[in-house]
Amino acid sequence: MNLQAIKAIYLFEMSRTMRTLGQSIVSPVLSTSLYFVVFGAAIGSRIDQVEGVSYGAFIVPGLIMLTVLTQAVSNASFGIYFPKFIGTVYELLSAPASFYEIVIGYVGAAATKALAIGLIILATANFFVDLSIVHPFWMLGFLVLTCFSFALFGFILGIWAQNFEQLQLVPLLVITPLVFLGGSFYSISMLPPAWQTVTLFNPVVYLVSGFRWSFFGMADVSVGFSLLAIGLFTVLCLAMIAWIFRTGYRLRS
């Protein structure tokens, strides 16, 4: 195990974050505040409570998930796409580091950043609504697992992408709709029965539902299902990464 290599990649990636610290923190805090103003204050004033929780508080887990998913995917995909784009990937390929060490370095850094942003949003949310977290330990667990699994997904995306358009395409066309339709801002029980069934095919539903359970102790789907779904997604991503490693897909000709 080349621990030095993991450390080098991790620190290198984190220093990129530190360099752009302002925009790394300001933009998610700002956009979260906007969501609170629009959904919490404007719409929330007409929706009193969702299953016994004030609407403002109800959307907090969904808001955190929305940003964390987007950040984890975009950070990890950019982290590995950029060296490919500028050509410095030669160094990674010629280093005495296995593909797994490279993945741990990049995915670890992207997940760390996403996690930090998630916690910052949580702190910001505290200014707008009263939050009491029923299962803080599980909350953190869900958050960390989500950060890692979606950073893994982002890494795969970054390897697959051959231009900047493709890099943007998946977060824009897949992640954002899935999160918006995944019950981030509403309870699935508010939907007509037919749409409830369709929604159950959206993996983000399980994430948001499980995460919300850790806050309020109530969920759209059972917590076991939520954990299973994230676990399955992580395993799927790991399998794809193993395949990329074996074949050198879009990395080694």
Partner: protein, 308 residues
């Protein structure tokens, strides 16, 4: 001396069927400087890329320091430093950070004193905190070299290190190469500047169309392949070759003098006979001059014979 890099039957066929390397075998001795010459697209970079682990071979094997580059890739790659042909650097990063990054990537603990020594040697120390995007092209190349040396490699690959580089950097670079060689580092370089190979290399390999045409000690190669030319200036310029001299390998110069090409390793150079025949033909010489053909002439001849 023993082979530190051993290439056996290496082949590479790219998707789409282009055969970049055909069964190349090559032993590189520890501590030598080997220059690989060859026209563009000959397979030099492919060969280096496979040894360094950037490209997968289609066939054959490579060991570096006894480690197979695929099975024991960690052992092999830890020994190798690579200066790539393209200047690929993280534009927003500082010089010191990117060099430190490479050292870590290659599994070495942070050693700021060593990095300082390298950066000073490459005249980069004053620029260590500068972002790479603010550096000139020559400085960026120095950064690439610093990165390649950051983990104290035993084998250094320089892929076209002097392409588009000014005279000063070239001089510095060869200074460094000589210094590394004195430390026992093995150096493999590809270059278009054949006079550089001639000046610095111990051995020369010529690649064309994915095949290694030859690898030979530079001096032996030049002695074997080298031809000499004897230039003869005459008191009265000639318009055409006189009949008695047609048997010789002679050609007329623009000034009406003669150039005689001969092989120093042949049993007879024919010079004595030629001079005697010149006198019989009544031609008066005013000057003589001989010239050894350069590595470049040899290279051009070799590649031309091999055909496209």
């Amino acid at each position: 001396m023993s082979a530190i890099v051993s290439v056996k039957g290496l082949g590479k066929t790219y998707e789409g069927g282009f055969e970049a390397l055909r069964a190349v075998s090559l032993d590189i001795e520890e501590g030598e400087i080997l220059a690989l010459l060859g026209p563009n697209g000959a397979g030099k970079t492919t060969l280096i890329s496979i040894i360094c682990g950037i490209t997968n071979p289609s066939g054959g094997s490579v060991t570096v320091g006894g480690f197979d580059t695929i099975r024991d890739f960690r052992g092999a790659r830890a020994l190798i430093g690579l200066v790539p042909q393209e200047v690929s650097l993280e534009p927003f990063e500082s010089v010191i950070n990117t060099v430190r990054f490479t050292r870590g990537l290659f599994g070495k603990k942070r050693d700021d004193a060593y990095l300082e020594r390298i950066l000073r040697q490459l005249s980069l120390w004053d620029k260590r905190a500068d972002r790479i995007m603010t550096l000139s092209g020559g400085m960026k190349r120095r950064v690439l070299i610093a990165k390649a040396l950051s983990h104290q490699p035993r084998v250094l690959f320089l892929d076209e290190p002097t392409a588009g580089v000014d005279v000063e950097l070239r001089k510095d670079m060869w200074e460094i190469v000589r210094g590394l060689r004195a430390d026992g580092v093995t150096i493999i370089l590809t270059t278009h500047y054949i006079e550089e190979a001639e000046a610095i290399a111990d051995r020369v390999g010529v690649i064309n169309n994915g095949e290694l045409l030859l690898v030979e000690e530079k001096n032996a190669l030049m002695a074997r392949m080298g031809k000499k030319e004897l230039r003869i200036d005459l008191a009265r310029p000639l318009d055409a070759l006189p009949k008695p001299l047609e048997a010789y390998d002679l050609r007329l110069t623009d000034e009406g003098g003669l150039i005689y090409t001969y092989d120093t390793s042949a049993e007879k150079t024919g010079i004595t006979d030629l001079l005697a025949d010149l006198r019989h033909a009544g031609l008066h010489m005013v000057d003589l001059d001989t010239r050894q053909s350069s590595l470049e002439d040899i290279f051009v001849d070799l590649v031309r014979e091999d055909g496209p």
